[in-house]
Symmetry: C2
């Protein structure tokens, strides 16, 4: 955890229509986004191995999203 | 869209257990994470307004996650 920088996450909240965002708000969303990304990546890695590859590609990420949504 | 830097997203995929990650794989996950974050932020902003505030706080983000999960 803690890979995502906080400033871009604050901009995502502003872009969504927020007038102001607290630091703890940006940090909370960064943590949720990273947990979501990790869950999606774990599923994608299973699909990569299933396809006999070692490199995770966009097709694996997108199939993971179809499966997990 | 396009707020998240790609390198940290690649590290999230590596941290999840990937041997290798393609650039398009990292870009695909960054796009999904940003869409997820935007959806969560839009719900949080409604909750912020509902509470009579203008500043999005962690309590709003976390309640949005409870509602949308």
């Amino acid at each position: 955890m803690g890979e995502l920088p906080i400033a871009p996450v604050g901009r995502i909240i502003k872009n969504a229509g927020a007038e102001r965002v607290s630091a703890d708000g940006s940090e909370a969303l960064a943590a949720l986004m990273e947990a979501y990304g990790t869950a999606m990546a774990k599923e994608a890695i299973k699909l990569t191995r299933h396809a006999g590859r070692k490199t995770v590609k966009a097709v694996d990420i997108n199939m993971a999203h179809e499966i997990l949504q």
